[in-house]
Amino acid sequence: MTDAYVVGIDMIKFGRFPDRTVPDLGAEAALLALDDCGLKIQDMEALYCGNLGQAGGMVGQRILQEIGQTGIPVVNTANACATGATAFREGWMSIKAGVYDVVLAVGVEQMGKGLLGGAGGGTGIPKEGLLGSGTMPAVFAEAGQEHASKYGTTFEQFAKVSVKNHHHSTLNPKAMYQIETPLETVMNAEMIAYPNTKLMCSVNVDGSAAAVICSEKKARELGLMGRAVKVSASVLTSDPWQERDLVMPDVNSCTRLASAKAFEMAGIGASDVNLVELHDCFATAEILHYENLGLCADGEAGKMIDSGDSALGGRCPVNVSGGLLSKGHPLGATGIANIYEVSTHLRGEAGKRQVEGAKVGMTHVIGLGSACAIHVLEKVTA
């Protein structure tokens, strides 16, 4: 089986663009990714397009109507917050299977402001209508409180995640925000669902990202191995059965399952990972995922944020892009934007926020309901 490589990848600066359209935003990212590797739309053998808000709207085809109707197959994916990563993974599978040699994956989303509703409705007991509990901040707040009651994690430790990620985004010109948010500001911001304040909730923004994925043979033929990034693992999971059938979406188990599979597929361990872009949809979530991804031992996540291990310059920097908390979270685009961030570091092109000497990186997204996607990316050593 061939190895698959990212040869071209880019994202637009995340923001709010109410006067633009979803296909228009997607087309911009697609052209940026093609430019990144010097290829054209007529070189692409298939398009995998992730978008959630207009899941029935044939967004991929509408992107081609803007940049070139070459008649290639288009697959549109929707998988909650794992939508973009799922589109990328479909492309990766087509390369691994040897069906195509070079394909395009696009993730795009246009979002309004406000709270996101709950997913995973279950069978006949509508959580939101009944209990007012379907707000995403509340779901992740309860998951955080579970951690707090087990390990003594504090409100301040959760808040530090937001301080760190906002600081990181001051170094990322493509992030929605470039502002420092001191600890007091984060802790005193409007309380949305304790312990998540407004600054501990991801930002709803518009955005798009795209990647050109290529077989090894084709990448060599095209002379694109110089800046290529190897996809050494691509994993997608759903919720495995758990001893205790939690009534709230289980944000931990599918991530633990996915990370175990990803490390096995890539033939590495968590200690080999130099940087991680993980799903910090809420500050509480980032703390949980340190442990779910094996970046620290169970119960040590509070210590990990206190010690600076997860900050730029630390043992394993997490969300150097600013993360969903400050770079922004356009649902369908997030998965590919994470892959862009890690690829940029592996290429040594991340400027002021460069993780020095980065050789292996990991991306993680989780869509409630649930879908967890993890990718392990490796620098190509010629």
Binding site: T123, G132, A143, E190, I192, Y194, W241, D245
Partner: protein
């Protein structure tokens, strides 16, 4: 909480809602593995068999986790309110609201019991409140 949207019982959930109306907290249990299953569904997610039967819970338990919601998704909900995961004495989990308790007094591990609120002729909601 008045005027909030109410659930519509369906063939799978109806025994639960009818129980609430009668003051009984009904939950499904798998006759093969013995697991309690909530929310109601067709088959046991562990055994992958349609071996679920309805049993009555004692309606007492402890607070497993919670959040205090200050910004609701729908305007019908009065804030702040406490969304809670209760661990029933039988070991299963239920999502509910904690009532008759100030948000600042909520603690993980506190003892709670079911407290029914009649919302309409058909629907009675199973909230929980602190117990001594």
């Amino acid at each position: 909480m008045s005027g909030i949207p109410l659930p519509t019982p369906n063939p799978i959930t109806r025994p639960h809602w009818e129980g609430c109306r009668e003051g009984l907290l009904r939950v499904q249990r798998c006759s093969a593995c013995g697991d309690f299953v909530f929310i109601p569904r067709v088959g046991c997610p562990r055994c992958l068999l349609e071996t679920l039967e309805w049993v009555e819970s004692v309606g007492r338990g402890t607070l497993y986790s919670y959040s205090v919601v200050h910004r609701p998704q729908r305007p019908e909900f009065e804030v702040p309110y406490v969304v809670a995961i209760v661990e029933l004495d039988e070991g299963w989990h239920m999502l509910t609201n904690l009532v008759e308790c100030e948000p600042e007094d909520v603690r993980v591990g506190m003892k709670v019991e079911v407290s029914y609120r009649e919302m309409s002729d058909e629907i009675t909601l199973p909230y929980f409140r602190p117990r001594p």
